[in-house]
């Protein structure tokens, strides 16, 4: 049989075109025993790595290519024959993309003419320049279009593409192409213009066509595929299709052989760091490390020196010196601008990183495993993630990177936005013509993070209003399943930046991000990792911004704090943590954390590290939480599955909590080498491939058995391994996060006003709304004063150790510019009256009303109603009235009555989203005598039937909770938590999800101070006009 190679295949990375992901194409190519497969996605090489990686395992060559979108809309498929060709392709795409808004890059014919070395072109399918011209303008025009390609690529690098999709009339175009090819002596090439891996995937392609064209399947008509023939076909089938043109098939094999390039030939290099004259990269790193070590340790002891030398030797040998220096320099840049910066992740395992100030964790004192970060067998780049305050300060660092390395030398990694959750159903359902109200109902029933579902999709659809016998149901379910997980479009990663020596487009094309001043790679972080392209994560962390602001406030108030110097054994801080009084804290403020803290009772910093790490899907799925807590409480004996594991698991009482422990168990008990351990690490971190993890699991199991580890112990270790694929923390990462968590707790205890001000000034972030934070502050003795035009600033300020003043940023609907102008006017001369205020400020009528309603004008008017009366005195639409008011006498007293308590509360929530006064539930309490206050629950008898009520502040249904839902409600005394069983949740899904305030009746549970209500009845709590807060749900 003749060899056939498919040289024109599109994947779903042609975004809303191809109906299969590259992995599916790879599986099908392997099944069909292709020697090679070329992926030609539209406008880029987005899916290249995802074909390349499985191709290596499947044993075929993944060839690179792309469909170039030309300036006139024609689509020219090009294949990469050499490394130079790949670079050329990257340059062409990058040039086109960087001059146009995202998604609109077009290659000009001149650019293609000037830069096409190493590329081989096909004449294309129905969108190609030749067939398009033939269809629209006839044979002469087609020959002219083909002639243009021929002039550009010459005879040897242009193939006339023939496709047969069993469509009436297609032979007419093919006849022309065959005749024309013969007349100009060009070779023929058969392709199937593949759009999906298998015939069944055609449905997905149809769905994508509709999404692209903004239409429905019923209305799409001839825009849909005519049949399902555009799938990967084997050599036999293609040979039979082109039995009359055997050379078109034979040429596929010949051409594939000419295509020498695969992604294995990428020669990525991280940029060198500019070192002073006379120094090398490694010598400079050496010097800087020791300088830093002296600062960190005071005296560099033998143990420290040995570890530094060991690390530096390895860093030098692996050629990573420049990388460390560049990251160090970025940290220096940030600190030079007064910006907090801290490395997280496995970098904290390195003493070099610690000495250079990249991380804040002493790996020697914490006995951290350096191999988790860098090892002999590791061929990829180490991973350093840097946490920065979110927003402007992080952007400054990102822009500095662009500044240093240029728009083509640095870029953000992409983030592939895929069809997920309810958006899949919404989009597919819309295309299939489901009514909007059904889709809305589906969306309401199934909140974004409200997963995994305890109901089958078919049942969910039934509840949303689709009859079980609806003709579309089967197709809908099948298609949703196929579409789920496919890429929809490309975004940018939150902080992953890639740098290189030279231009990045030599390795992967770049394009503009939607955000101005940002360029993005066509690959995501996993692709980069697979291609050994180094990434630096510049991550924005809301809590870093809070810490930054808090420290600045403390310094301004003459109470400076050095985070590096705060005592790590502060009793009050640990008391706060033990009491789970953790609203607003980093990492330990969630309901699950709050439910664990009283049982955990952290007494040391390392306890906090464990607390941070233990409430994660990994340890929860790995059943590590309860055994650890029981052992810690002395209720369970500390045992080790294997005595050899004792040194590794001693600190965690025999329970596997950290990734490092899994790796060390693999090395110590399973005899894994450093490189095998590294492979294991990569498999754990690589969430895309369960297969890869399973292979490593089998390998480790085998090794453990060979090394005499008992079957039960082996099973336990392997179970932990599987759990860590579900987001377990490395120990170093947990320590880094615990540092921030501890700092936030210490500040909440010792600088509460500044800390709450920091939190309020960096919203939205964390689990709780500003309303909840203000109530929490009140319970901790920090009162919050309302906004005042005579005293407030733009941001929330600390005016005494126990008092905050809200800023104008809290008032909804008031522009920053107006506030700035007002502050400037006030700076010149304080306002003497409301009329004076109105005269000298530029707020709109709506803004004036908002300020008056929020009570911000009380200082000038006495009360809110008087202000509301007076701000209307210059009728907005009438300039004449305004002029009169400017020159007229001061207005008389308002005839309006003061607002009542309830009215003020409503006005607060309407204008600020919070109240600085009492909690709304305080006003409800009298009317509902049977409601228990949250603070009273601790006095209740476990098992008693109680009723709680209030605004819902969080709803959670974590994937690890087997369908249970957790609801937190807030009242004037604190928070009360309810647990809802899956069946009750399904029964009352809409009430739970949509009612802003709930009344929950159930049995009281009190386990070691952790109080829950096991819900039995849930109904809406009518608040009688009182405002309800905005709940942070399903985070």
């Amino acid at each position: 049989m003749m060899t056939y190679v498919e040289l024109h295949a599109r994947s779903a990375f042609s975004f809303l075109r191809g109906g299969s992901d590259p992995e599916a194409l790879a599986r099908e190519a392997a099944r069909l025993q292709f020697p090679a497969l070329a992926l030609c996605d539209r406008g880029g090489v987005y899916g290249a790595v995802r074909l390349h990686m499985p191709s290596k395992e499947a044993g075929f060559r993944a060839l690179a290519g792309c469909e170039l979108i030309m300036e006139d809309g024609a689509v020219v498929p090009v294949l990469v024959s050499t490394q130079a060709g790949y670079r050329q392709l990257g340059a062409l795409l990058t040039t086109a993309n960087l001059r146009a808004p995202k998604g609109e890059g077009r290659v000009t014919w001149r650019e293609l003419e000037e830069g096409n070395g190493g590329l081989i072109a096909l004449t294309g399918d129905e969108e190609g320049p030749v067939r398009r011209a033939w269809r629209e303008r006839g044979p002469d025009a087609a020959a002219e279009a083909g002639g243009k390609l021929r002039r550009i690529f010459g005879g040897g690098r242009l193939f006339v593409e023939l496709q047969r999709h069993l469509v009436p009339g297609e032979e007419r175009a093919n006849e022309f192409l065959v005749d024309w090819a013969a007349s100009v002596k060009l070779p023929l090439l058969a392709t199937n213009g593949v759009n999906h891996a298998t015939a069944a995937d055609r449905n997905v392609a149809d769905i994508f066509t509709c999404l692209r064209e903004h239409t429905t399947l019923d209305a799409a008509g001839r825009r849909l595929a005519r049949n399902r023939e555009r799938h990967l076909k084997g050599a036999g089938e293609m040979t039979a299709l082109f039995a009359d043109l055997p050379e078109a098939i034979a040429n596929t094999g010949r051409l594939a052989e000419r295509l020498e390039f695969t992604l294995d030939q990428l020669d990525y290099r991280f940029p060198d760091f500019d070192v002073p004259a006379g120094e090398t990269q490694i010598s400079h790193l050496h010097r800087m490390t020791y300088l830093g070590a002296e600062e960190r340790f005071g005296t560099v002891t033998g143990a420290v020196r040995r570890q530094i030398e060991r690390e530096l030797e390895l860093i030098g040998r692996l050629g990573f010196s420049g990388y460390f220096l560049i990251v160090w320099d970025l940290c220096r840049f940030a600190r030079g601008r007064g910006t907090l910066i801290q490395g997280r992740g496995s970098a904290a395992n390195s003493v070099v990183c610690y000495a250079l100030g990249i991380t804040a964790v002493d790996p020697i004192a914490n006995k951290l495993l350096f191999e988790r970060f860098l090892s002999e067998g590791r061929s990829d780049w180490p991973d350093i993630d840097l946490d920065l305050p979110s927003m402007e300060r992080r952007e400054e660092v990102i822009q500095e990177v662009y500044q240093r390395y240029g728009r083509r030398g640095a870029a953000m990694t992409a983030n592939v936005i895929s069809f997920k959750g309810r958006s899949t159903m919404r989009e597919v359902g819309k295309v299939m013509g489901l009514p909007d109200d059904v889709l809305d109902r589906f969306s309401s029933l199934f909140h974004g993070g409200d997963y995994p579902q305890t109901l089958e999709l078919a049942e969910q659809l039934r509840m949303a209003g689709i009859a079980p016998n609806d003709a579309r149901l089967r197709a809908l379910l099948d298609t949703c399943q196929r579409v789920y997980g496919l890429p929809r479009h490309l975004g940018q990663h939150s902080g992953g930046m890639v740098l290189c020596q030279g231009e990045l487009n030599d390795f992967v094309p770049l394009e503009n991000a939607r955000m101005p001043g940002r360029s993005v790679l066509q690959w995501d972080k996993s692709d980069c990792e697979d291609m050994r392209i180094v990434k630096i994560d510049l991550l924005g962390l809301g809590m870093m911004a809070v810490l930054q602001d808090t420290l600045e406030i403390c310094a301004q108030r003459g109470q400076p704090v050095d985070l590096a110097q705060i005592p790590k054994d502060d009793a009050e801080t640990f008391k706060l943590l033990q009491d789970a009084d953790t609203v607003g804290l980093f990492q330990v403020e969630s309901r699950a954390q709050m439910a664990t803290l009283p049982r955990m009772k952290p007494k040391t910093f390392y306890d906090l590290v464990i607390e941070v790490a233990i409430i994660r899907p990994g340890p929860i799925q790995g059943n590590a939480v309860n055994p650890y807590l029981a052992r810690r409480a002395g209720k369970e004996e500390v045992v080790y599955a294997d005595e050899r594991a004792r040194p590794i698991l001693e600190r965690t009482l025999g329970v596997v909590l950290f990734q490092e422990q899994v790796l060390r168990l693999a090395m110590e008990l399973g005899g894994f080498s450093a490189s095998e351990a590294d492979e294991l690490r990569r498999a754990i971190g690589f969430t895309r491939s369960q297969e890869r993890l399973n292979r490593m699991k089998d390998k480790l199991g085998e090794s453990l058995r060979k090394n005499g580890v008992a079957p039960a112990a082996t099973e336990s270790i392997l179970h932990s391994l599987a759990s860590f694929a579900l987001y377990g923390f490395p120990e170093s990462h947990a320590i880094s996060f615990a540092l921030i968590a501890y700092a936030s707790a210490w500040l909440k205890v010792h600088r509460p006003a500044a800390f709450y001000a920091g939190l309020l000034n960096n919203q939205p972030m964390g689990f709780y709304s500003p309303a909840t934070l203000v109530q929490d502050a009140r319970r901790r003795g920090v009162k919050t004063l309302p906004v005042c035009v005579q005293r407030s600033a733009e941001a929330c300020e600390v005016i005494a150790d126990d008092t905050l003043r809200l800023g104008f940023a809290s008032v909804r609907g008031v522009r920053k510019a107006g506030v700035a102008a007002m502050l400037a006017a006030r700076q010149k001369l304080p306002f003497v009256s409301l009329a004076d205020f109105l005269r000298r400020t530029e707020f709109s009528a709506a803004e004036r009303r908002a300020l008056a309603k929020a009570g911000a004008l009380n200082a000038l008017s006495g009360h809110r109603r008087a202000a509301l009366w007076e701000v209307e005195s210059t009728h907005a639409g009438d300039e004449l009235f305004r002029l009169v008011a400017v020159e007229g006498p001061e207005p008389v007293l308002s005839p309006l009555e003061r607002m009542t308590h309830l009215e003020r509360l409503q006005a607060d929530y309407e204008t600020l989203g919070l109240t600085t006064g009492p909690h709304p539930m305080r006003l409800m309490r009298e009317k509902m005598p049977d409601l228990w206050a949250a603070a009273e629950l601790k006095h209740g008898r476990p098992g008693a039937r109680v009723k709680i009520g209030g605004p819902v502040i969080t709803r959670q249904r974590p994937g690890t909770a087997k369908g249970f839902c957790f609801i937190t409600i807030e009242d004037e005394t604190g928070h009360a938590n309810a647990i809802v069983r899956p069946n009750l949740f399904e029964e009352l899904r809409l009430v739970i999800n949509l009612e802003p305030s709930l009344m929950i009746t159930g049995r009281l549970q009190n386990e070691q101070g952790v109080i829950h209500i096991m819900a039995e009845e849930i109904v809406a709590l009518p608040m009688g006009g009182l405002p309800a807060e905005i709940s942070h749900d399903y985070h």
Partner: protein
Amino acid sequence: MSYAVLLAPHFSLEALRCGAPELAGQPVALIAGEGRKAVITEVSPEAPMVEAGCAATLAMARCPGIVLRTRDFAAEAEAQRLLVAAGFTLSPRVETTGPGCCTVDLQGADLARSESEIRLRIAELAPLGLTLRAGIGATPLLASYAAHQTDSLLRVDDARAFLRTLPLEVGGPSADELAILRNWGLQTLGDLTALTKADVGQRLGARGVALWERAAGETTRVLRLVEPSRSFVAEWAYEPPIEMLEPLTFKLQRFAERVALELRAAGFVAEALTLYLLLEDGSDHRREFHLPEPGADVASWMRVLLSHLETLRLTSHVIGARLLAAPARPQQKQDGLFDTGLRDPVAFWENLARLGALVGPDRVGTPVVAETHRADAFTLAKPADVVPAATEPPIHPERGLVLRRFRPAWPAAVGLREGKPQALGGAVSGPIVATAGPWRCEGGWWHRDAWCVETWHVEVGDGAVYQLARTGETWCIEGVLD
């Protein structure tokens, strides 16, 4: 001077329910707004937990099984006619004030008598599904306020006392004005009039002054009276029912003349006529006639109507009829230079109407190729009034043999070898000497009407070439290629 206002406070919902008997007794709500922004605008008493303004999804949470519908404007128009008709029984001077509301000028009427007439109307309309309230006052506004404040009929004698307690919304402030007044803590019209008009004017401008005046009952206005004939409809009943065509054509002609006259007087012509025949057995017959050229020429109308009636076979006697003319401005368009108009459009449409009566109106029209890959799929469109000029010749003219379709296609038995047709059986039988194909076409996978057709061209022994189609395992001969 006195005015009455007839008000149906749940007008949209009740109008909807009037035309949808299946909604009786069900919790029903009307929604407005797109997608997830949809909110409840009216709700039936069967859903007490649901209130206007709440989100549609929340309504579903609070009242499982609630039926959510959007407004049915046709039903509302019908209900409005009913309301206005009720108004005309009180006085000839009637205003359609808004959906579900009409104002009647009772000048010169005996108020006591009017009150009892109104109560009668309220009682009459209730069984029809329309709950009415009524107010009587010295001004249209007062009457309106009164109607809004009562469950049956309220007559306002002491305007000042009455107004004082009314909620602000009754005064009809804009949303912005209402928000400002609420900010001021005002709840009633009395609260508003407790402020001075000048103060309100300074703050809310001219609109504020107008609002204050309305609140004080100082405002009156001239009614915009309705003229019933503007609806261009004629309807009538037969007592006893008729069996023959003549009485129908007689009255039809007379009423058509009147409708045409009204149209012309208003500067309109008719672009379509709708004829309803109410039958004794409770059924009815309805037919809409699109006129070839909009006009008010009764002779042309009658030719179209009679063409239809001559061929009509009814199952029962006619007890009533209605003729409705859809008004349009006279056509001013000039045909294109190369457009080809119909030589006798009236005759064309007459014939078309006859054909429609014979074979059914849904089977008459110009076939248009359907926008689908499915071969031979078509829809029927209304024939064009003018034949458009020929377009440019196609880039690739048709070539090869022409398919002459068999309608319906002939069933066939096909023998296969290596997946290709080898022999034909059935109406055409014999060995196949040559084949071309297959061509595959497939669509509709998302609904029950999924289709997948494989097509072949086959040459049989006598040289004839046929087009075969296979659907699943069923073969047929679709036609012959000439």
